[in-house]
């Protein structure tokens, strides 16, 4: 069984946690997320031009790059994480250029060697899959695709083709960390997606509080939280592990028990 299958096969919704590599004490922060109850980790690869991100993650990208964070540093963080947490699925999330700059084959091989399970690339849609998808799959990694409110029925098969791990439903047409979609529209979208795929569906963008996470966990296989963690790192700098663990625990409790507390 793959790490993703285990993480999404616990008989309850999964909590997926995102932080940016190189922002704050990343290794300690990752450990705090796991200790707090994260089921899947997304490690953001900083990029100079994060076009799909809101102000919080933009700033995290710039903080990480200003500290001199390199691709080699990110791969080392991933390898260290894998050594400490053999069971927790690890996803690298970012933009195409840093992933393909030395060659997609190189990136896929190095990520696999570091113990990464999957990759989310914001700006490689199915139409440009040849740039990265085949190389990831050849290295045994999952290409985790994004579906959005604008992904219609005609496009969905193309999005699912070649995707693995889980399907990430971006619940709002917009950038990270902004508004949240209405729960009804999320429920309908997840049902539509699940009718077309056996992959677990995790929902993200704009999810910040345990209350929001719980509502989504009632209708989806997983909930992705990012900007709320980034805000904590921004506020606490190198000392963010304790408050990160606290928020993760609150979110994990809400997500993991969501279906038991349905009134």
């Amino acid at each position: 069984m793959s790490r993703f299958e285990s993480a999404f096969g616990k008989g309850r919704p999964a909590l997926v946690c995102f932080i940016t590599a190189g922002d704050g004490d990343t290794a300690a922060n990752l450990d705090a997320l796991v200790a707090g109850g994260a089921d899947v980790i997304e490690l953001g690869m900083p990029f100079t031009d994060p076009m799909a991100d809101g102000p919080a993650i933009q700033a995290a990208n710039l903080r990480a790059l200003a500290k001199g964070t390199t691709t080699a540093d990110i791969l080392a963080l991933a390898a260290g994480f894998r050594a400490r947490h053999p069971e927790v699925p690890l996803v690298l999330m970012g933009y195409a250029n840093p992933m393909i700059h030395r060659g997609a084959d190189w990136f896929a091989a190095e990520a696999a060697k570091a113990g990464v399970d999957g990759v989310i690339c914001v700006d490689i849609p199915p139409e440009e899959d040849a740039e990265l998808g085949p190389q990831l799959r050849a290295a045994g990694l999952n290409m985790i695709r994004l579906a959005t409110p604008t992904t219609d029925a005609a496009r969905l098969p193309a999005v699912l083709d070649g995707s693995g791990g889980f399907l990430y439903y971006v619940s709002v047409a917009g950038i990270t960390g902004k508004q949240q979609a209405a729960i009804d529209s999320i429920e309908q979208a997840v049902a539509r997606l699940k009718a077309s795929t056996d992959l677990p569906v995790a929902v993200g963008f704009g999810v910040r509080t345990p209350g929001q996470a719980e509502a989504i966990a009632r209708v989806a296989d997983g909930v992705v939280v990012g900007s709320a963690f980034i805000d904590i790192v921004a506020e606490h700098g190198e000392e963010a592990a304790a408050p990160l663990k606290e928020l993760t625990a609150a979110l994990a409790k809400a997500v993991h028990n969501a279906r038991e507390t349905v009134a």
């Binding site: 076009m51 030395r102 849609p125 950038i175």
Partner: protein, 404 residues
């Protein structure tokens, strides 16, 4: 006669690729809209009513055709080939940018979009976009790096007079690249009603193609005007390249004329050997940014390096994908020109021809000392004077140490 199999004018392919360049590297949210835009563009291209409206606005609103002018005194000064200007600076709003904006706003209206956004560097594209929005009564939001807002105040005020909202962008180096990031963030959040008028022949397919097609009016006119006036095609075309829309607009109709040589002039800033330039072909390597694969200024990890040019319109770390392709196959040569050379050419053109060129266009003019002597007196060099320089007088005064 043109052999289609060997034509340079059949790009991009059906997936929007110019050789290995171009493509559609965008977030999934934008993909359906991009596909829609492509479909609508194909339909518009085949619709005689669309072409008729475009042509009519070009003639009566923009003031086309723009003149072809023999620059007698510059020719005498350099003592080589004849120097001719394509006078795009005489267009309404003072640059070639309006050609593209007219085309794109007609597309936006066709698609039922009710809100327009755009990015701008020097402000020329912002002014042109604000102009067409005023003309067609659509709300307009312009993203502009706050560094550019400071150095292009006259254009900022122009946009406001035309009814646009100008949003200063504070991220990154606060120039064109950052304005484009912010425009894309707006777009992805407002796909349902918003049309993004991209200002140069770059971005995701079909933008590089449609911007080129709208700007090709420059080359088509120039080709006909040259033949009419001189009975010959020009021997060399010169145009400045930031994103590269004025250059591709001039070059494209000539690409299959083997006797016509072409040079695209990149912004060399303080020199391509320094870390302060914007010459992505001369000093960059292929990568993915802003929806397309193209030559970029980047470090060994694929992080984008800030560009530098005295010309705000050339201050961008990438280039349109068709130029990357034309560079790789060798059909067009690309030459970097430094800030000081452009300033020199700016002043020379003012004094010898009575034409104040945009700093962007001054880069193309600055190639003349290097190339004019290679041509004989019966040969012709056609320079695209893509914009007028009134917007740049503060920058130039500052660079020359003059007080206004």
């Amino acid at each position: 006669m043109t052999d289609l199999a060997n034509s340079f004018r059949t790009q991009p392919d059906e997936r929007g690729h110019f050789g290995q360049f171009g493509g559609r590297y965008v977030a999934e949210t934008l993909m359906p809209l991009i596909l829609d835009l492509e479909k609508e563009y194909r339909a518009a291209k085949a619709d005689p009513a669309f072409k008729a409206e475009f042509d009519s606005l070009m003639a009566h609103y923009v003031g086309r055709p723009s003149p072809l002018y023999f620059a007698e005194r510059l020719t005498e000064h350099f003592g080589g080939g004849q120097i001719w200007f394509k006078r795009e600076e005489l267009n309404h709003t003072g640059a070639h940018k309006i050609n593209n904006c007219i085309g794109q706003i007609l597309l936006a209206i066709r698609m039922g979009k009710t809100r327009i956004i755009a990015e701008t560097g020097a402000g020329q594209h912002g002014v042109a976009t604000a102009t067409v929005c005023a003309r067609f009564g659509l709300p307009c939001v312009i993203y502009m790096g706050s560094t550019d807002v400071a150095r292009q105040q006259p254009n900022v005020f122009r946009m406001k007079l035309l009814g646009a909202e100008v949003i200063p962008v504070e991220s990154g180096a606060k120039t064109l690249k950052d304005a484009m990031n912010e425009a894309m963030r707006d777009w992805v959040a407002n796909v349902h009603d918003t049309f993004y008028i991209i200002g140069t022949a770059a971005g995701p397919h079909p933008y590089p193609e449609l911007v080129r097609d709208f700007q090709s009016v420059i080359g088509k006119e120039a080709r006909a005007q040259m033949l009419e006036r001189t009975g010959k095609l020009p021997d060399l075309l010169l145009a400045a390249v930031g994103g590269g829309s004025n250059a591709i607009g001039l070059f494209h109709p000539f690409l299959d004329d083997p006797e016509v040589a072409m040079v695209g002039v990149e912004a060399g800033g303080h020199g391509v050997e320094t870390d302060k330039h914007a010459a992505s072909l001369t000093g960059g390597s292929p990568g993915v940014l802003h929806g397309n694969k193209t030559y970029l200024l980047q470090d060994e990890d694929g992080q984008i390096i800030e560009a530098h040019s005295i010309s705000a319109g050339l201050d961008y770390p990438g280039i349109g994908p068709e130029h990357s392709w034309l560079h790789d196959i060798g059909r067009v040569k690309y030459l970097p020109i430094n800030d000081d050379e452009a300033l020199e050419a700016f002043q020379l053109c003012c004094r010898l021809e009575g034409i104040i060129p945009a700093l962007e266009s001054a880069h193309a003019l600055a190639a003349l000392p290097k190339v004019a002597k290679e041509y004989g007196k019966d040969q012709m060099i056609l320079v695209n004077v893509s914009g007028r320089g009134d917007k740049d007088i503060f920058t130039v005064a500052d660079a020359l140490g003059a007080k206004i």
